[in-house]
């Protein structure tokens, strides 16, 4: 049944488009793209912009002192988070003592539901929009792990911050068929009278440690 429908649909598409000659790929190449594809900001300004934009959407940036484990310990203490999930290959040396970390060995939804939060690295950040991008990987974890817990602490390298969205997309090209999640601040809704309300589903607090 589905195959008959496919043929019918394609027949109608072809009838509507006429018999076009023309290579779609060549035509696609020639689409004018006059929007910005390259940022103009220097390194420091990029970080500053990222900081400002992350805060605008209620994410909180922290800055590394150089000792990542100590930095993470400070943030977690400040936030009073004690028991966190970490992806399988999150660097062991970054995990501070005095907290409880559980490796995500296929934890159940219910197990993810009872931890204080999740700690991951991430792929890149976008300064203009205050966005952090995660890919599904052993260092960054599965998507469920950054979804069910209420708190997400993310380690982002300053070198991995780009200015513009096109720069980010082009950097992601090699891994474009992996599950990717873009985070721009914690969960929010404007569905009730257009009033932005924080935290419906997904982590209600997003912290980023910049290293």
């Amino acid at each position: 049944m589905s195959h008959a429908s496919k043929s019918a649909i394609f027949a109608r598409i072809r009838a509507a488009n006429g018999h076009r000659s023309g290579d779609p790929l060549a035509e696609w190449e020639s689409i004018p793209r006059d929007y910005r594809t390259c940022g103009a900001l220097g390194f420091e300004d990029r970080i500053k912009l990222f900081d400002e934009r992350i805060r605008h959407y209620d994410g909180t940036p922290f800055y590394s002192t150089g000792d990542i484990a100590a930095d993470l310990a400070n943030v977690l203490s400040e936030r009073r988070k004690h028991h966190l999930v970490v992806p399988l290959e999150f660097p062991q040396s970054w995990l501070p003592a005095g907290f409880s970390f559980t490796r995500d060995e296929n934890l159940s939804k219910q197990q993810l539901d009872i931890v204080d939060g999740v700690l991951t690295t991430c792929t890149l950040g976008i300064a203009l929009t205050g966005t952090v991008v995660l890919e599904s990987s052993p260092q960054q974890g599965r998507r469920a792990a950054t979804l069910i817990p209420d708190y997400h602490l993310c380690v982002l390298r300053k070198d991995d911050i780009v200015e513009l969205v096109p720069e980010a997309i082009r950097r992601l090209e090699p891994i474009k068929d992996r599950p990717l999640t873009f985070f721009s601040g914690p969960s929010a809704t404007v569905d009730i009278e257009m009033t932005r309300v924080r935290g419906v589903h997904g982590p209600r607090t997003l912290d980023i440690l910049l290293v």
Partner: protein, 486 residues
């Protein structure tokens, strides 16, 4: 083939539906407040970008190009989804799509499904079909949940509960949510509290229901990837936690490449909610072992879209990325809200897509529900020339009516033809003017016309009209001995 666009085929004509909406002061206030707010944010965020116009041009070019080669890209998409472990199904119309989705759920003995916001599912009336087959669909978008619990229908593409204010939401939740079970007493109308109530209620569903249904904002041909753009996180819940995921995707959602997302992920959030980026974008391809559903289905839907492709100008309506900016800026929508359009798709875009999907057999009053002010065209992120398409559709409807004897004899048609005749022959113009001056006499009271007959009655219900002046311009010109040129 049975194309359905929600319940549009049985919707009342726009003027009638508008009458009801216009009488609802609360609705109009809610709509006005909400659209003013989004518009202000949208203007700020698009004004911020120095390359906004270039992005719009690129968006238009990419979409138009895709439609021209739609078969090529759909083929590519299917190949890549299948290669990545997903299943692709093709649905010629709404009924077929409903059947395919239901069959997949039944094959897994599913009794409940969790749904991410998708207007496509409203278009094909999926919830009703599932319920008829003993399957309970749970809407998980806050607005869709409010609308579902309140037994209403969505009134806006992006913020479907825009017509409902906080007090009304509170009342709906009090009536329909198991508040004591959720540990909530004395629910107020504070939006944070309301959102929290919804969060607790839905969380139970997310952690237990095994089948998720979504739509798609974009379907990427060169990867077989699907993109969901959202704010709340319920999308992520439905896309990653269940075992089985079914995405119902209109064939026009295809974009050629992953790279093209660099354009649309800028155009959409700024236009839709006035944000630089919405909180969550989820992109995935097929099935990823160990992460997310172990079974993924895409149902590619026609349901009249190939019909729309036949219209040379009207097909641009398929470029729409569902941002809702045209609704927010439309002065007609401001007054009537979305329900008056009688369709899943409302406002300016609704007025051009709804009748076209149905081959102009229904929703024929929608193309006339516009003053052609052009504000929608100015804000459309992919530059759909909505006013132009409205005029074209009006032309098709008029020509269709003129093709029947009854249609030819309609007063409007006769009147328009008579006018065209007068305008074609300047000799007749003067005579026509004299006739009009004579005919108006009985309608002038106290120096003004307050009561016109027939089709023109609508004007004088709320507006006066000055009588035709004694001397027309051409008579003044002649009388002043001015040189008359032929």
């Amino acid at each position: 083939m049975s194309v359905h666009v929600g319940n549009a085929e049985s919707a009342p004509p726009f003027p009638e539906a508008a009458h009801n909406a216009l009488g609802d002061r609360q609705l109009r206030a809610n709509v006005r407040n909400a659209t003013d707010l989004i518009q202000a944010k949208r203007n700020r965020m698009t004004g911020e970008l120095p390359d906004w116009e270039q992005l719009r041009s690129a968006g238009q070019a990419i979409k138009t190009h895709t439609l021209r080669h739609l078969d090529f890209y759909l083929e590519q998409f299917e190949e890549n989804v299948t290669h990545a472990g997903g299943h692709v199904h093709w649905a010629a119309d709404a009924d077929e799509a409903d059947q395919i989705v239901t069959r997949i759920v039944q094959d897994r003995q599913g009794r409940e499904v969790i749904k991410v916001k998708t207007m496509t599912s409203n278009e094909i009336r999926l919830n009703e079909y599932l319920e008829q087959n003993g399957i309970t669909p749970h809407e998980t978008d806050l607005a869709d949940l409010i609308v579902q619990l309140g037994n209403q229908s969505p009134s806006h593409i992006v913020v479907p509960a825009l017509h409902i204010n906080r007090t009304q939401v509170r009342d709906i939740f009090r009536a329909k949510l198991p508040l004591p079970e959720l540990g909530i007493e004395n629910l107020t109308d504070d939006p944070s509290q309301l959102a929290e109530a919804a969060r607790l209620y839905l969380r139970q569903k997310f952690l237990s229901v095994d089948i998720g249904i979504s739509g798609a904002n974009f379907a990427v041909a060169d990867t077989g990837g699907v993109v969901i753009v959202e704010s709340e996180g319920n999308g992520r819940m439905c896309l990653t936690l269940p075992d089985v995921l079914i995405s119902v995707v209109g064939i026009e959602k295809i974009v050629p490449t992953f790279q093209d997302l660099e354009v649309f992920l800028q155009l959409l959030p700024r236009s839709a909610t006035g944000e630089r980026m919405n909180p969550y974008n989820s992109l995935w391809t097929g099935v990823t072992p160990g992460d997310g559903p172990s079974e993924f289905h895409v149902v590619l839907l026609d349901n009249g879209r190939t019909q729309v492709l036949l219209n040379r100008e009207g097909r641009d309506a398929l470029n729409c990325i569902r941002c809702g900016a045209c609704l927010n800026v439309c002065p007609v929508y401001h007054q009537t809200g979305g329900h008056a359009y009688g369709s899943v798709y409302q406002g300016p875009i609704g007025a051009i897509i709804t009748p076209q999907l149905q081959s102009l057999e229904h929703s024929r009053t929608l193309p006339f529900a516009s003053s052609l002010c052009g504000a929608c065209y100015d804000v459309c992120p992919v530059k759909i020339n909505i006013p132009e398409i409205l005029i074209q559709l009006r032309g098709e409807i008029v020509r269709d009516e003129q093709s029947s004897a009854g249609g030819k004899l309609k007063i409007e048609n006769l009147g328009m033809h008579a006018l065209a005749l007068f305008f074609s022959h300047s000799g007749l113009m003067s005579k026509a003017e004299a006739m009009a001056r004579f005919a108006q006499r009985s309608f002038i009271h106290g120096g003004v016309i307050t009561d016109l007959p027939g089709m023109l009655r609508g004007w004088t219900e709320s507006r006066d009209l000055m009588p035709i002046p004694k001397t027309s311009f051409r008579h003044w010109w002649k009388a002043h001995g001015k040189e008359s040129a032929e």
